[in-house]
Subunit: 196 residues, 2 copies
């Protein structure tokens, strides 16, 4: 396959996708070229269009093609509640609950010193300014309950409380629908400590 | 995220890749837009270029940008031996052993009635014509040692022997149930030497 440079280039480009190694990239390239060339062309167009058109919302930092996203520009949303999430996917999950009617701030990441992700990369300063805009009465931290998500929540809590902002965190506990014997001990311990 | 149509289109397009579900597609799209827009543009270009330029070798059916691939057009290769493999990845694995100096026929698939892959899809007829071109003295079947690969080998053996072609199969040194491209090179080399 030495002379098929376009094929090698495609395999290399596919490896830029997260979680895709050389074998997967090969399999993807062969599949597209053998069985789904329309899919390959569609993907090429979608990539070009998305990189050209998708930017960040000026208010909440989520992905949007407009200057301000549809949620931030919706006057019916409760501007006194600001929910901080890590990614647009987390924001979408929160929206699907139908239980939150406030606004969002999407960090587009989380603090991760080992990966070189610092406060500037997650928009800490814009968040602080946003939270002190006079309208926000409560910041709800909905970062992940992982080591990095917790560290992010801790850092944000410190910075926000120093500015006199009221900060809450999603409660930890036993997931709905789960049986106690299958829940990990850390979760049970937290659920016990946070009992109400 | 209702108005970000380019983002949704990108997520949908990424799902065309084999083994990529909605969560992975979302993660890939977010990663590219947030951290690797040059990578997204590179991938778009690579996809377009590959679909435009990469075709099939007229002799062995593997992917190539030329009319005939570099192996088929190499006069030093032994034209009396024809090795039948399923994919270009299998062909590449065989080449890396350095133990085979003949030519190839790449099926670009395998018989799989359940998936609607029949003899025509794997180029059975071109293979039969190729094997009876007068130069080929031995056809070495190197399809996978899976149920479908074995069925393919069986069907090819039947058809080739009916035309008086000498057919051999890689020896069962290859662990049953594994696919050729994942087997270590020494095992492939032994299986080639012990072909029956």
């Amino acid at each position: 396959m030495s002379e098929t440079n376009s094929l090698d280039a495609l395999i290399q480009a596919l490896r830029r996708l997260p979680g895709v190694g050389v074998k997967s990239a090969q399999r993807m390239a062969f599949h597209l070229l053998q069985h789904d060339r329309p899919g390959a062309q569609m993907l090429a167009r979608a990539l070009t269009q998305a990189t050209e058109r998708v930017g960040h919302c000026a208010r909440c930092h989520t992905f949007t093609e407009a200057a301000v996203c549809s949620i931030c520009s919706d006057a019916r949303r409760d501007a006194t509640r600001l929910c901080v999430v890590e990614t647009p996917a987390d924001q979408a999950a929160m929206e699907r609950t139908g239980a939150f009617h406030g606004l969002y701030f999407v960090l587009m990441g989380r603090l991760s010193p080992l990966d070189g992700v610092g406060p500037r990369d997650i928009g800490m300063q814009p968040l602080l300014e946003r939270a002190c805009d006079g309208a926000v009465e409560e910041v709800i931290l909905a970062t992940s309950f992982t080591a990095e998500g917790e560290a992010t929540a801790y850092a944000l809590t410190e910075a926000l409380q120093r500015r006199g902002v009221r900060v809450t965190r999603l409660s930890r506990g036993v997931p709905v629908g789960s049986e106690l014997e299958y829940v990990d001990l850390g979760t049970i311990a937290h659920a016990l400590a946070d009992r109400r």
